[in-house]
């Protein structure tokens, strides 16, 4: 399948939702136009015959190293939670928990 390089606003909207970036209609239109230009550049790749070529994920062909199963970390909650974001002036921490707007399952 050869993807189209022309993006629709609907594509951009879907991507913005997946990426959790709020965007108004003007923003979506602007993004669509810029992304279409970038995808025209990216499209040059499609001319290359890559049959039989293994994808390259890493710069070196090395195996994953394994760490010993030992506990090395100590409790640093106080330090870590000292940098928690604030909402209307108060840190969003209670009883050692990070607070977020209610999660509905």
């Amino acid at each position: 399948m050869s993807p189209t390089i022309f993006l629709a606003n609907a594509d951009v909207r879907k991507v913005a939702i997946l990426a959790r970036l709020s965007m108004d209609e003007a923003g979506i239109e602007a993004a669509r136009s810029q992304l279409s230009g970038i995808f025209t550049l990216i499209e040059e790749m499609q001319a290359v015959d890559t049959r039989g070529i293994a994808p390259m994920s890493h710069a070196q062909d090395v195996s994953q190293r394994l760490r010993a199963d030992t506990v090395t970390e100590t409790n640093q909650r106080e330090l870590f939670q000292s940098i928690a974001p604030k909402y209307q002036g108060s840190p969003q921490i209670e009883a050692g928990l990070y607070l977020v707007p209610q999660v509905i399952e």
Partner: protein
């Protein structure tokens, strides 16, 4: 003092000719005077820097000093440094004070170096001009109407303007080499895996690599000795014997085979840059090197491949910035989804959002094979080109960037034009090879031109040797911008 090499500074410190506190204060004063115009630093903290300098002076006094002890180094604001605000050039991390040290920071701390401050950069290292920084653009010290390059533009400008003895940078697609070229300094991106990425805020994990930025190859070798080495906290850190990157500096260049990729001297390269680089190659011949034309046929695809792979990784790496545990949280929101969307939309700048969108798109259902997988396959072809080329030569040379520093705002609204300014540097990251840029003269408007030297895997010592011999024979690297 501001033009002394790291070797000379170290000797002066150890001989007691100057204390680290005095030296650090000299730099802090210079930063206070010049940074308002150049904007090379995002954060300085005189109290912390001077405390480190005092500790260094103790080491110097009791004989436990190492090569870099007491020397003020500027750290790119991508490295987490405990107790330092670490912004990565973003509003998202405007108030983020790191609770831990990056490996690179730890290495400099262990060496007794002084952290002089955190340098400006493109937001999350995404940019080639430093114009995407939330903390304002950095001015090129050679011409303040021009960009310093990016993303390590603050570091390059700081080194060029003598606002530090040396600096660190990171390079994902050219972010050390391109600003080094545009600011007339030396910069080295090591082989992927030589310097630990632990604590370096990730842009594109399979391409990111930290490296030194300085005024000479000799200084780079000394810095790399401190930065390189195995770190068990980074799975991609390579387990290799410790090496002295300065060991080959003084070797003569007789017999050095230089490969010139024909694709790097083709359409798109500025005439002024071409002529300057050719003159540098001529100098190398005088030094005993021979030249062979090589071909990197797939390198022309490195920009499209990079703009699939790097945004894909970035889109995922930047998902942790959600306003829950640290970083920016929108002042108003209605529910969880709204909090995520607003925090991220307000906390990230335009270029970062653009790349997150590209990355999200190329990984999404139905497009993965055509974009991401295809890019990974071409990445292998690009790497194989280099393997072939290194059968014919010891190092590859060419321009670092197609032009000298452009005007601020010149490419601002055309991302594609901006992306193409990395055309000669990106392939090196895709292959994971070491690359460097050294000053080799001046082009149009008297702006510096960089010579790129690409080595085979782990050939940093040989590249530094080639750069140092050139710097012994020429003085481009010791030129400083006037009128600061």
């Amino acid at each position: 003092m501001f033009n002394s090499s790291l070797q000379q500074l170290g000797s002066a410190l150890r001989a007691g000719q100057i204390s680290s506190v005095e030296l650090t204060q000299l730099y802090l004063d210079r930063i206070a005077a010049l940074n308002p115009a150049l904007n090379a630093y995002i954060t300085t903290d005189a109290g912390t820097s001077l405390a480190q300098a005092r500790a260094a002076d103790t080491m110097l006094a009791n004989g436990t000093a190492q090569a870099l002890t007491g020397i003020p180094i500027a750290q790119k604001d991508i490295f987490c440094a405990k107790g330092w605000r670490t912004t990565c050039g973003s509003k998202m991390l405007e108030n983020f004070v790191s609770p831990y040290d990056a490996h690179v920071i730890g290495q400099f701390n262990n060496a007794g170096a002084v952290n002089l401050g955190k340098t400006n950069m493109d937001e999350f290292a995404m940019g080639s001009s430093n114009e995407t920084s939330y903390f304002g653009t950095v001015k090129n010290p050679w011409d303040q109407s021009r960009v310093p390059g990016g993303s390590s533009g603050g570091a390059a400008a700081a080194v060029a303007a003598r606002l530090c003895a040396a600096a660190t940078g990171t390079d994902t697609g050219g972010s050390i080499r391109q600003p080094a070229a545009l600011c007339g300094i030396s910069g080295l991106k090591p082989t992927y895996g030589v310097v630990s990425r632990y604590g370096m805020i990730a842009f594109a994990s399979s391409l990111d690599q930290a490296g030194p930025m300085a005024r000479s190859a000799e200084d780079l070798a000394m810095l790399l000795n401190a930065m390189a080495g195995f770190d068990e906290r980074d799975s991609t850190s390579l387990q290799r014997d410790k090496e002295d990157y300065a060991r080959d500096l003084s070797k003569p260049l007789d017999g050095l085979r230089i490969g010139l990729p024909k694709e790097f001297f083709a359409e798109g390269l500025g005439n002024d840059v071409a002529q300057t680089v050719e003159a540098a190659i001529a100098e190398y011949k005088k030094l005993g090197a021979s030249v062979v034309e090589i071909s990197l046929p797939n390198s022309k695809l490195s920009v499209p491949v990079y703009y699939v792979l790097a945004p894909a990784e970035a889109s995922s790496n930047l998902s942790r910035f959600d306003g829950v545990r640290y970083g920016y949280r929108a002042p108003e929101y209605t529910d969880l989804a709204d909090m995520y969307e607003k925090s991220r939309a307000q906390g990230f700048g335009a270029e970062v959002k653009r790349r997150i969108m590209i990355g999200t798109y190329v990984l999404s259902h139905g497009y993965y094979d055509a974009y991401y997988l295809q890019a990974q396959k071409i990445r292998r072809l690009i790497a194989q080109d280099f393997t072939e080329a290194f059968k014919q030569c010891d190092v590859i040379m060419g321009p670092t960037a197609p032009s000298t520093a452009f005007k601020l705002g010149e490419k601002g609204d055309d991302p594609v034009q901006m992306y193409l300014s990395d055309i000669y540097t990106i392939a090196v990251n895709l292959a994971g090879l070491p690359g460097m840029s050294i000053p080799c003269g001046f082009g149009a408007n008297d702006m510096p031109v960089g010579l790129q030297i690409i080595g085979n895997y782990f050939d940093e010592a040989r590249m530094l040797n080639a750069a140092h011999q050139y710097q012994l024979a020429t003085d481009w690297h010791s030129r400083a911008p006037q009128g600061l």
